[in-house]
Structures are given as C-alpha cells and as structure tokens.
Symmetry: C2
Subunit: 250 residues, 2 copies
Amino acid sequence: MMIACQTPIVGQRVNPAVTSIAREAQRIGIDIELLRRFLPVQRRQLQPDESLYRGGQTFSALYLVHAGFFRIAQISEDGREQVLGFRMRGELLGAEAIGLPTHVCDAVALDTAQVWELPFPAVLQACSEMPELQARLSAAMAEEMRRDRTWMLALGTLNAEQRVATFLLDLSARHAALGFSARRYLLRMSRMDMASYLALKHETVSRVLAHLIEIGCLEVQRRDVTILDAQRLAAIACTQTATPALRCAA
Amino acid sequence: MMIACQTPIVGQRVNPAVTSIAREAQRIGIDIELLRRFLPVQRRQLQPDESLYRGGQTFSALYLVHAGFFRIAQISEDGREQVLGFRMRGELLGAEAIGLPTHVCDAVALDTAQVWELPFPAVLQACSEMPELQARLSAAMAEEMRRDRTWMLALGTLNAEQRVATFLLDLSARHAALGFSARRYLLRMSRMDMASYLALKHETVSRVLAHLIEIGCLEVQRRDVTILDAQRLAAIACTQTATPALRCAA
DNA sequence: GAGGCTGGTTGATCTGAATCAATGCAGCAC
DNA sequence: GTGCTGCATTGATTCAGATCAACCAGCCTC
C-alpha cells in the first residue's frame, strides 16, 4: 500500500544531481489521450513480483507506467545481474529494445501496478502521422539516457554514503513530483535491489542507513523512510569526500 | 596517426558482454547518402582536444562520427567529472540532448576527427517525411541506451582487472568491426580518461595493465596495445571472482 | 642541452567496503 | 502456539583498490 501523506513539499535545497533526475520524471509528456487517437492502447495490470517483460522475450510494445513501481534489471549472458533503475508513474518502459526483436532486460512490478501498453511498430506508424509524437518519443528516450548517465556519474564519483543519500533524495523528489510526500515514503524494493542499483552490498546499505539514522537525518522502519534532515542529507550526497578542487560551491 | 594493420580477425572466443557492445557499433545504420536528400548535412573537422560540444552549449545538431575518436564526459553541477564513453566511426553523438535547449555533456575529439553534422530540428522534419529514418533514429538511440546499460552492469559487477580486460576487448572488437586489427591498436585516451570511464584511479589502471603484461596477455608501449592472449583476457573479463552461482558457463 | 611539464609507472601504506558469520524479526503455514 | 523462510541488521575480519609519494620518460620551449 502506498503512503500518500499530503505534506506540502518544503522549499529545501537539494543536491543538483538529484533535482535533475527528478525533473526528468515530470517532463515525459507522452499523452495517453493523444495516443488513443492513433493507436490501440491497452491497459495492463500486474501483481507484485510479476514481470512485465524479461530479457529474451519478444519485444512488441512500449509501456507507460500508470500506477505502481517497477524494477529494471539486466542479466549478462554469464549470469551477472544488475538493477539499472526503478520506474514510477509517467515513466516509459521497454524503449531500450527498440530495433531488436527481443527485450534485453527485465521489468518487474514491485507492487500492484498498471501500465499502458503501446504496441510497437504501431507507435512508429503513429509517429509518422503525428510529428509531435515523434518529437516526444525521442525526447523521452533522450531523458532516459540522461537519467542513466547521471547515475553513472554518481556511481563513478560518489562513495557508499553519498550514493545512498543521493538515492533517497532522488526517490523523495520523484515522489514529490507525483504529488506524494517528499518527507516520508515507502521503499518498494528490497535492500538487495537497492544495493545492486547502488553497486554496493546489502550489508553496506544497512550500515549506511544505520549511520544516517544515528546522525538524525532519517527514520527508517523496515521499508518506511522518513527524511528528518533533507538539508544535511543533501550535503552528504554531494560534498562529503570531495577533494578541494572538486568541492561543492554550497 | 592510426595503426591499421590488416591482420585478419582470428576466430577467438570473446566475453559475451563485449561482443554485445561491439555488435551495437555495426548496427547504427544511419546512412549519410540517404540523409543528404532530406537535410543540409555538413562535414566538420576537429583537431585533437577540440570539443565538438560542451555541456551548456546550445543543442542544435546530432553528429555522426566519420573519422577519429571522441570522449564523452559529464560534469555535475558540483564539479564531479565522469567519462561516459568513447565513440568511433559510425557512432552517433549528441542524442542525449534531444528535448533540451542545451547539451548536457562534453564530446571531445581525441585525435583529428571528422563528423557529419545533422542539424537537429531538421532531422525530426526529415523523419516525418521518411518513416524509415524515424525508425533508424530511435533504434540508434536505443542502441546507445543498451551500450550504457551494459557498461553499468560491468561497473556494478566486475572488479578492476575484469573491467580493464573487458574494456580492452571491447576496443579490440570495435576496431575489428571497422576493419582494423583486433590484435593491436592505439589507445587514443589518457590513463586518466580510461580510469574515469572504468571508475578506477589511474594508478590502479597502470597496475592492472602491468599485471596483464606480466602474465603474458598483453604488450603495452605507452598507448600502443597488443593483445597476445585474447582467450585468457576474455576469461579474466568475466569469470575471475564470480561466486559459484554466478560462474560463467564457459 | 637545460629546464620544466604532462602523463605514466611503481612502491608503501591506509581504508572503505566486502566478506564471513551470527542474530533478529515479520509474516506465513500448519 | 511452533517452526519455517526470507529479509534485514550488526559485528569481526579481510582485502581490493585508494591514497600518498617518489620517480621516470617523452616532449616542448628556450
């Protein structure tokens, strides 16, 4: 069940990297009503842990998340697995398979979820009839690339605590963008999933959370997160171990 | 200057992750002659270290690499920098800025380079006149997403030595795909750039290279790399420290 | 050719996160 | 209730890679 406190979003300073991820989510701008006029758009319902698609399955549609949360993960041919991201309302799924016959990663619902199914070759057809849609599709794909790359930057330059703080603030901002509380939310994913996404081990995630709780930034009851000091969390997210030359302007 | 030995590509077993990155490069399939009919395509020449675009500059075109090498890097607002990839002939540059007024990362030529400049809003216009192009553009963007994600998987699951081996084999395969030697090539980037891309420190890259030389996999003279034992390198790239459950099928 | 500079290597040491190992705790079956 | 089972936390220890530091090889300028 979703926590949907109507707490207003406070005017907090957040890590620039975080806000840029969150802004993305708001901009997708693919309008279902518009699509309906050109495409046989269907709604599909998923149960927790049900997969929307898996690597290897035939690619036949893009999906727009309408409700619920998804985990995107990729498994290499030799069995290594990596969580690549989490998707919520308004975000696009499946675009990475465009141009291939089959999906290359897994999208799994983390709770009860609904998606709009946009049959694929038909989407391209619709694009050619409506140039506006074409622009939106490529913009949505570009946004997804930017999101991935912003995260690659985080993985390559931040330590464990900074990554966890960045992640928590990103979720906070994305919840806020959807009208939910930025202060308190439920983690839909396990610590394992978080750890994989953060390129850490789950024990490390636990320890970092314990530390953030200890210093008064957070309250965490299993998967129920309350951000007590967003300011400090933001400071941790980007400045902690920066060398003088790279220090935050903040 | 390029080393362009005409050594045939030997039928070596390579890391599946690596081949999948390399296969991408061959598939881009955006045909300049086709584009010319719809767009004012211009060729642009760059000197070593000259930037094609930088974060913050107005986004006005996509670029298709015709010759030379590029480094793609992103700098966060607080000054952290991360190399996101390297691009060579046939690969697309700038797509991540679609939908935004300005570029979000830097593309810098690593040697003398040439690109085809595809003025942007005009590309979309051309797409609507030619649905085939629309399909190719979205396929090219999807390929770029897959490339990024394959690398995220590598960063999240491989140790230093595996990453370096994977990187060297990826470069090898991409050179081969362009008709150059898979066995011997020049690294166009500094150790710093390599290290950033690999999310390591440059000292670590040096040490790993030294070790790979010591065990007879490689020969390296500054930036001139010769792969002596591709088989072994491939074995290192994916199996070395895998836990039993995750072990390579190989 | 001296001097300086950038990029690269190598060594010694330190440390953050991984690993190994227990323990706790909620939810579920029976 | 008892006993699972899966997820999460916490502690002790180890180790891969970072850090700090010295040194070297090209390469440029003068």
